[in-house]
């Protein structure tokens, strides 16, 4: 069985700042991965790379055994298999239906099939009769659930979630958590970032722990080389900082 992703010697910079540096990381299908680490450790950066939105300056990303070619045509094909829900998701102007239908329409789905899939997706997140509601009428938790329904509607192979439970009411959090836990059985692999240390136990996922990504630039005169270690069974990545005088 191919790993869903293999990331090798990847480095992502924002200007002079190293936002993420990973030696190797493998994501296997049918699992839930919980991405943890302090602010600035590169969780969102990693999710953006996995979503193929952000090209790393160095290294290779392999998806389902094929190396990702960072060109629009190739990315377009792969992006139809992966969806990402941002930390504060953006809902398009219009109704809940318009939003959930967006990814389906982009895949050429229309008519009764479109309507049924939208209804099914909204039912999954507990918003059965919300189709015609304008997005301006939604609470924060409902908006988050609509964004999740929108990400799930195209039945992606990979679902990437950037802190999906941040600032969410308890009712919405329980619904979202329960849904995430059920996704591997439906054929969707999940990688989600969180600050909640107990989430891994509740979801039964594997932990990918990022440490101190990109913080070293503040010291200016020190050059760091970061190595990461990854144990597939243990599921932990924690870059070990090695300091060298410049």
């Amino acid at each position: 069985m191919n790993a869903q992703y293999v990331i090798t010697s990847v480095q992502k910079r924002y200007g002079e700042k190293i936002a993420l540096e990973l030696k190797t990381l493998a994501i296997w299908p049918g699992r839930i991965y919980i991405l943890t680490g302090p602010n600035g450790s590169g969780k969102s950066t990693l999710l953006n790379i996995l979503a193929l939105l952000s090209k790393p300056e160095l290294g290779a990303v392999t998806y389902a055994g094929k190396r990702v070619i960072w060109k629009n045509r190739e990315l377009g094909v792969l992006r139809k298999k992966i969806t990402l829900m941002h930390q504060s998701p953006y809902l398009f102007t219009g109704t809940v239906f318009d939003n959930v239908a967006f990814g389906l329409k982009a895949r050429g789905i229309s008519g009764e099939n479109l309507r049924r899939t939208v209804t099914d997706s909204l039912t999954m997140v507990g918003l059965f009769d919300f189709e015609d509601r304008n997005i301006t009428q939604l609470s924060g938790g409902e908006a988050r659930r609509v964004a999740l329904a929108r990400a799930l509607a195209p039945k992606p192979e990979m679902l990437l979630l950037d802190e999906p439970l941040a600032h969410v009411d308890r009712e919405s959090a329980e619904i979202i958590e329960k849904l995430i836990a059920s996704l591997p059985a439906r054929g969707t692999t999940v990688v989600m970032s969180t600050h909640d240390s107990q989430q891994r136990e509740r979801l039964g996922g594997e932990e990918i722990q990022l440490c101190a990504g990109g913080l070293e630039q503040a010291s200016g005169w020190i050059d760091y080389t970061k190595d990461s270690e990854f144990n597939v069974n243990g599921g932990q990545i924690c870059p070990v900082l090695k300091m060298h005088a410049a």
Partner: protein, 228 residues
Amino acid sequence: MDFILESFQTSLSLILSLDREVFSAVSTSVSVAAWSIVFGSLIGIPLGLTIAISEFPLKRWVITMLNTLMAMPTVVVGLVVYGIISRQGPLGELGLLFTPTAMVIGQTVLALPIVANYTLSAVKGSDDRILATALTLGASPLQSVLQLIREIRFGIMAAVIAGFGRVISEVGVAMMLGGNIRGYSRTITTAIALETSKGEFAFGLALGIILMAVALIVNLILNIMQQR
């Protein structure tokens, strides 16, 4: 006060009497401005979008140039286009000078930087998650940009309205490239200039009131479209 009242009366009688000359000028003004804003938008909106969402060398320089072009005097545009389409110019053989087509070309050049700049500002002011969200949901780059246009449609409509306001009210291009030919290329603004130079202030002001009314009607229509 009498002077203004007299102008209103004159404008009303011109409209109610269906004065042929006035309606010819109104019709030329509106059709030339409409075609100019159509062409200006067809070029200006994609140009503004492209500059806003792509990264390329000299981007800031291009934006500065676009800002400068917004302030370009109408007579300068008229002069440049005149040089191109006059008999000695590279497009002289087409015989465009002193035709409504020449006015459309000139006014398109006037409208283009305004539409492009307003579009650019609308994209810059929009939420930067729009494109990323569309892409992560499997949309192609073109579908993502179309969604972006949908999200910033009020800003784009404002770009079109501002461009239209610029071209319907200008006189330099219409005069230099249209030639103010009665019943053919005479617009409301060139007619105002002519009547005022003849000392017909009330008639000129009446035409001004008609121009404002035309601008108001067009903007009302665009505003209704904006609210839909």
